[in-house]
């Protein structure tokens, strides 16, 4: 029997694992008796950390706390911009970050300061985060280089905030295309510098941007694909295994695009009933050597453990022989169960996944025959 590290590395290196790995993000399974029980059954932990930290030496940031709201004012020689976050919001996000209620970019006047901030960004490498984490995890986990978690267009989008800035972000591209394009060019220049360091990261497994689904393939092709097509082959030539965080629930619309991107791993893939693309369809579109890393849809848990087990078994049997498949949690997992009833349902559901993996996830998985 393989340990988790051997199992996940078999999949990532296109060898045959002994069974489909169960590999949630570490944050989605806080330490505890239940988590230990699952790890004893082979579940591994995926750690996402950047080996790069950034600074903007000529920009000062002023923080004001107003109740549970933190306001950050960035003072640049080109003017000030501000963002606001709601803090102490509990377990809404997997990383317990504040909720962005006001993005940096709110209008035409904000482009110059933001461009200055982007150009002022300096990158520094700290590989101890990698070596310390890998040593800690041992056979129980996988390190993900998280230094390039967003694509350039994704960076541009989040300049406007999250949900709060969505409308502004849409309008700005139409109302002020030149300014938006200049900002985007500045982001590309910054990300090029970042990627040069990422290529030298000690980590083999690299998270490279996401497919959010809030914008369509045409925009991704226009803005991000050239960058991706430049860097992915280069990173792969350096021995890196690259993944895209494809958490869009409308992934069917991106099916062809993903094939063009050249990633080794399509991660956060959320099958129906939450997403709209089945594993079978994805496999047909992306080929037998694309690793599909499933974000298990927790909504299934509400149907009970038997239904969850059956769902998982059908999922596994839909992608024989199962040697390019990983099951994980990339959005919520047990971490998202913040009341006793949800916790109970989630725990039963997750055990049902482990049962299904033990029973049906052994390599080679046989295709389901009616």
């Amino acid at each position: 029997m393989m340990n988790f590290q051997e199992r996940i590395n078999s999949v990532l290196h296109l060898h045959d694992p002994d069974q489909v790995p169960f590999a949630p993000y570490i944050e989605s399974f806080p330490s505890g008796e239940y988590e230990r029980r699952l790890r004893n059954r082979g579940m591994g932990l995926v750690v996402r950390k950047p080996t790069i930290w950034e600074a903007t030496p000529h920009v000062t940031v002023e923080e004001r706390v107003e109740g549970d709201l933190s306001v950050f004012i960035h003072h640049t020689p080109k003017g000030d911009v501000r963002a606001a976050y709601k803090q102490h919001a509990g377990r809404l996000y997997i990383d317990e970050a504040g909720i962005c209620v006001e993005g940096l970019l709110k209008g035409l006047q904000d482009y110059e300061p933001i461009m200055y901030m982007i150009e002022d960004t300096e990158f520094h490498v700290d590989n101890t985060l990698y070596s310390d984490t890998v040593r800690d995890l041992g056979a129980d986990g996988l390190f993900t280089e998280y230094g390039c978690a967003l694509t350039p267009y994704g960076h541009a989008r989040y300049m406007f905030g999250e949900s709060s800035g969505f409308d502004k972000w849409i309008f700005e591209q139409a109302d002020h295309p030149q300014e938006f394009a200049r900002m985007f060019d500045a982001i590309i220049a910054r990300e090029e510098r970042r990627m040069q360091l990422i290529a030298k990261s000690p980590a083999e497994y690299i998270r490279f941007g996401d497919i959010d689904g809030s914008w369509g393939p045409e925009v991704v092709r226009r803005y991000d694909l050239p960058f991706i097509k430049k860097w992915i082959p280069y990173l792969q030539s350096m021995g890196k295994i690259c993944c895209v965080h494809a958490h869009a629930i409308n992934l069917a619309f991106f099916k062809d695009l993903i094939g063009e991107m050249g990633f080794n791993v399509v991660e956060a893939f959320t099958p129906p009933p939450v997403g709209n693309l089945s594993i079978r369809e994805a496999r047909a579109a992306w080929g037998k050597d694309t690793i599909i890393w499933v974000n298990f849809p927790e909504t299934v848990f509400y149907q009970g453990p038997q239904a969850t087990k059956k769902y998982t078994q059908e999922l596994l049997e839909s992608d024989p022989p199962g040697n390019r498949l990983v099951i994980g949690f990339t959005e919520m997992g047990l971490w998202g169960a913040s009341d006793p009833e949800t916790e109970h349902l989630f725990k039963e559901g997750i055990l049902a996944i482990a049962d299904a993996l033990d029973e049906t996830g052994k390599f080679p998985i046989q295709a389901r025959t009616k």
Partner: protein
Amino acid sequence: MDFRTRINAVLHLETPDQIPFAPYDNLVPRGDFERTLRNRGMGLCLRRPTIWEETPHVSIETKAEGDIETRLYHTPKGKLTLRNKLHTGRIKDDDMDLDIEGMIKGIDDYAAAIYWLDDTQLHLGEGAFFDANRDIGSDGIVRDTGLQAPYGVTRYLYGGVSGLPRWSQDQYDHPAEFEQLVQAVVRREEKRLQLIADSPAEYLSLGDLDGTWGPAKIRKYDLPLFNKWVPILKSKGKICSIHAHAVNLSHFKDLVPEFGCQVVEAFTPPPVGDLSLAEARAAWGRDTIIWINFPETIFWSGPEATRQYVKELIQSDPPGDKLVIGFTEMGTWGAVTEESSRIFRDGSMAIMDAIEEYSV
């Protein structure tokens, strides 16, 4: 017993099945080794404060210069400057920044600092406790943070190490002003303790015994707060601990019982600390729970020597029902090379072996 039952037996003055092995959760990072130890009964002590703070009338301006971060606290009474070194790796147990310049440089900063302290509003956010408690289940215990001892706070306002000389001098050169500063911290901590009394956590930490300053200062500045609040907290069913990580603890031997805490935690026995377990027990009585910070330096003598050391430690405190062994400063988290990692892992395993063999 599972770990939770075992540690609760100790904390409630009942009899456990063996001595709990209970490091801080972050000091044994998650991985195959941690899982091995947990499968053998090691539990985790999770420190999760339920209180969050804000200073609504003080804005903080941050500037980064390489790995140095400068924080300017703008108060109506003036500006305070704090400088931290960032990205320092695993120097401190909590991954915190390393302060290289404290907020207070001298008494000219006192007015602003007192404003900042008095402006602090505290809020009880119980979610972090409930979530952590539910997550950890029988594999650990969740501790709340209940007090920052006022005199020690003034020291850290001057900077952890950088401000030590100035802090020492100012309290003699300007005693009246210094007294005002301490009293501002006392006012803030009184507010904290009022909230903590209603914390959902049973187990609380109440300040530390650092050893950088002597018992006289603690009796003068901190003890009144302990003597007022520890009985109140106990009457509400709380179990109170003091983080006694001073390596010169023998000088505080008589002071420790005056705090009234049920648990003396981070107790570091010789050869790192200067107070043996037997001496501490004799001084503090049979019902004081002594929670050991295992001195990692022992690991360098090899696993057999570590095992022997633990055996002698356990046998020096019979029957062992008021004893906990943990890591409160470094643990395997502090092993940052392959060699030290191997040595620390061998040593930690030897602790587990010895606990199983000699404490049952």
